[in-house]
């Protein structure tokens, strides 16, 4: 004779539905988590890249530009300062003005790109003052100003995203609890027969806890893996069509990504397990 069947029946349609619900919710939650995480990372890289960049626009002749470059270069806290050539400037403007080049007679301000060492205090102001002293007509543009604006706004967006992920997780847990409860009501007869046969509450409950823990973990892992696959696929598509990848979310499977993908199934399994326990214990408490 074959070894005895488990005391609980195989999954029925209700549990299959629960699997689907948990899987879908975990997909959404971990996808949102991955997106939020990678948006954070992208904003970080982006802000890092522009921090320390100073642009100086010089009106006047080339001599003024060269002089301005020398002043900038000599300022404390500046690594390098270089004059951007007319052709480079045209290339930068090409997206807006077309690639046919600019008519010779349109004046383009000379541009100097300077990179400041990290945390050099108020370099831009110093350069600006010196240029003014020399009587040069120049505007100093410090990216770190707007990069801190950028940081602030990405922090706010990140916080909002995090809030959304949190809400999604809370919803997922609640829905898993409800669905588990519903799936279990159909098992009340089994609970009662086991109870009347002399099974202890903890024994009966643990049967269901194990079952729903496994169901939650399997469904959660499936959802999380689907989320990972979807994120990777989306990134692949975008990378195919654009080359400015640095603007895009970074999917590098960092520790955080791993954490999101690992925690999702555990959370789902735990939510299902706890609600199974609560439901069974509640049913049992109504029995003598």
């Amino acid at each position: 004779m074959s070894p005895s069947a488990p005391l609980l029946p195989k999954e029925d349609t209700r549990e299959a539905a629960l699997f689907f619900v948990v899987c879908a919710l975990c997909f959404l939650a971990s996808f949102a988590g991955l997106v939020a995480r990678s948006a954070y990372a992208a904003a970080d890289t982006w802000a890092d890249q522009v921090t320390g960049e100073i642009t100086i626009r010089v009106r006047g002749d080339e001599a003024a530009a060269v002089r301005a470059r020398e002043i900038a270069n000599a300022s404390p806290g500046i690594d390098t300062a270089r004059l951007i050539s007319r052709s480079e400037a045209e290339a930068l403007l090409a997206p807006w003005l077309g690639s046919s080049g600019l008519p010779e007679d349109i004046p383009i301000p000379f541009l100097i790109a300077a990179s400041a060492t990290r945390d050099a205090p108020a370099v831009a102001d110093i350069i600006d003052r010196r240029l003014k002293e020399e009587g040069l007509d120049a505007i100093v543009d410090e990216h770190s100003v707007w990069s801190s604006d950028l940081r602030q706004s990405t922090n706010a967006a990140g916080l909002a995203a995090l809030g959304a992920v949190g809400l999604l997780i809370a919803t997922a847990v609640a829905v898993i609890a409800f669905a588990t409860h519903a799936a279990l009501l159909a098992r009340r007869d089994i609970v009662e027969v086991l109870h009347l046969t002399g099974a202890r509450d903890g024994f009966i409950s643990s049967l269901f806890e194990q079952r729903f823990l496994m169901l939650g973990v399997r469904a959660g892992a499936t959802g999380a893996l689907l989320a990972l696959a979807t994120a990777a696929f989306m990134l692949f598509l975008v990378k195919q069509s654009q080359d400015q990848v640095w603007l895009l979310p970074q999917l590098s499977l960092s520790l955080t990504d791993g954490l999101i993908l690992g925690v999702t199934p555990l959370l789902a399994g735990f939510a299902a397990m706890i609600s199974a326990r609560v439901t069974v214990m509640q049913s049992l408490s109504e029995m003598v």
């Binding site: 005895s4 009347l196 509450d201 024994f203 003598v288």
Partner: protein, 236 residues
Amino acid sequence: MKERNISPDTPTLRFDRVSVSYGPGLDVLADASFELRPGSMTFLTGPSGAGKSTLLKLAYLALRPSQGRVSLFGIDTARQSRAERALTRRKLGVVFQEFRLLEHLTAFENAALPLRVAGDKEKRYRNDVRELLEWVGLGDRMNARPATLSGGEKQRVAIARAVVMKPDLIIADEPTGNVDTEMADRLMRLFRELNRRVNTTVLIATHDMELIRRTPADVLRIANGLLSRQGQESGR
């Protein structure tokens, strides 16, 4: 054979002024008192809807009395903890009127359920359960699921499950309601065997007066919420 360390004087089952009401105007049992001596065999009879199943539910701890006290093996069950009541239930073998077999388990697994719940290993009980199922005429239906069994076959699986632990008290609700006279007598013999050989106390609800006449046992009668004992000596 199991050890019994209950004093021979302690009643197996005792009702003290037990009343049950399912709601206002739904009084099923009023002030019922009786006791079953260890090793006794008793029929509970009465018209349909009189409250036989209700009384048995009180006895197998599926229902709390509205008033009064139900004691098993000398202990007031209301004073027991849930874990203690679970252990008390393991000394009972119950045949439910509606069988309550687990649909996903085979006849063999259903019959063996109490052993599993009590933590026994299958290889230790396999032969006993087989023998028992053969005895109730289900030797060739052991791997069948309840859905594929006839009413009488289900009933016999339910009976096998009730007696498999050689319980101290068997409580059977219409255990012969779905079988022919010959099988009914065979099943009664099973209860009698346990009653005689292991001193099992037996309480059987039935409205089959013929069965009662054929089987020597005490008779409790319930009608209009009142319980009365009818003189018929246990033929031991």
